[in-house]
Amino acid sequence: MSPPRDSLEAWFEPTWAGGWTLCRLLWVLAAGMAHLPRHKGIGDVYGSADAILISHTFRLNEWMLVTPTHAWAAWLLGSAGLFAVAYGGRLLPLGLFAWAGGSWFLIASEAYNAKAYDRLLTWIALAILFSPAWRRQLGRTWASPLGRYLMIVVFIAIYGSTGMFKLLFEPSWTGDGSALAYNFVSLQFGMRPVAVVLSGLPWIAGPMSWFTLIFELLFPFLIWLRRTNPWILLAGILFHLGLLVLMDVGPFGFVALSAYPVLLHPETARELWGTIEDSLRSRAPALSRWFLGS
């Protein structure tokens, strides 16, 4: 008898894997939004001949001279990787590595702009790598929850640490919301019409700050419980949609939301899927067969 092993066995009990199909496809769209436009920077910041910087983190340019040809090759490699991930099946892991190689080669050659969405895409890719996402017909598959656990740890780190930084180091998040209001009028990230108006209304910016803080601090706990899991994810969807409307943070919101089908409790996701399954069978039988294998 080995109790720890038994509990480990229970913890790794197979769960419904249908969410991974949607996660994979949403991840491809989000990664495409981050990676594909980089071709416009080739020659200027990627594979630049004259503006070659080396940062504390990225020292690629000390080792090699990245030319525009190298940058184009990396961009094509990353793009091909995205197509492979979209195709799925056995090509999926290869595609993830190709995307990571091409994308991070460009990021490292530029040296100073590894964005939050680049990092999050990579962490989600790691979770996908440990998931059953490469399989077809996941709608009828129950598989290891390891990939989902990895995803949860990553999102606990993101939301939990940003929430803790706000709570510990910036008092306005629990006060008048001025940190958020000043972000709304940032010349780079802000100046969206609704955000500019909201920045001048502390009675709205204050509660919005509180909502953000409470969501970020509660996420690490409520994500685990089946009863609270959909509600904290609903708060997350509102949070990211709000960000998309109010601030220019690139594809960050799309990247984060791509993981939500997997973060949703598998049984809740399965029930949700069950409610739309019948109508899908009648209206889109080909899609239903591809997803369900039935």
Partner: protein, 160 residues
């Protein structure tokens, strides 16, 4: 839990993978905790950077812009930096990054690039950081409390 459908495909986690998976989860958690700790103390080793998250947490009440001038023909000419260095992220241009604009070495490299790209055949490039207070609730951001911080003047070293 609803019963599994008759055509369900069940793929259990192999015992060896459970242990390795648990170790992976623990390792990843320690990595993220370390990244949080170092980020909080602002002494981030490079290998922790991709695990540290603190987006938009600090209150920043000042706008920052960078302007550049080129000395050519005995006169200082304003340079259109977004035209010279066109690629832009949502965070702004490359020279907006704090670690770029506050590094003499990086600015020196960008200055040499500007010497060539400006097309003015300049003798020197001068960078200045402009900071002014953000105005809440306004689409117009007047340059109140404008502060001009000289970032450096760099001689164009290309063969002339």
């Amino acid at each position: 839990m609803r019963p599994l459908p008759p055509n369900a495909l069940v793929l259990p986690t192999p015992p060896w993978m459970r242990v390795l998976g648990l170790l992976l989860l623990i390792g990843l958690s320690i990595y993220f905790i370390a990244a949080f700790k170092y980020k909080a103390h602002q002494t981030m080793p490079g290998w922790l950077v991709i695990g540290a998250w603190s987006m938009f947490t600090a209150k920043d009440a000042r706008h920052v812009e960078v302007e550049a001038k080129a000395l050519a023909g005995g006169e200082w000419h304003s340079l259109d930096l977004p035209k010279i260095f066109p690629y832009r992220w949502e965070s702004g241009h490359r020279y907006h990054r704090r670690h770029v604009r506050r590094s003499k070495k990086n600015l020196g490299i960008l200055a040499q690039a500007a010497c060539t790209r400006s097309g003015l055949d300049p003798e020197r490039i001068r960078f200045t950081e402009l900071q002014w207070t953000r105005t809440l609730g306004s689409f117009v951001q007047p340059q109140d409390d404008l502060e001009r911080i000289p970032l450096g003047t760099f001689r164009c070293e290309r063969p002339r």
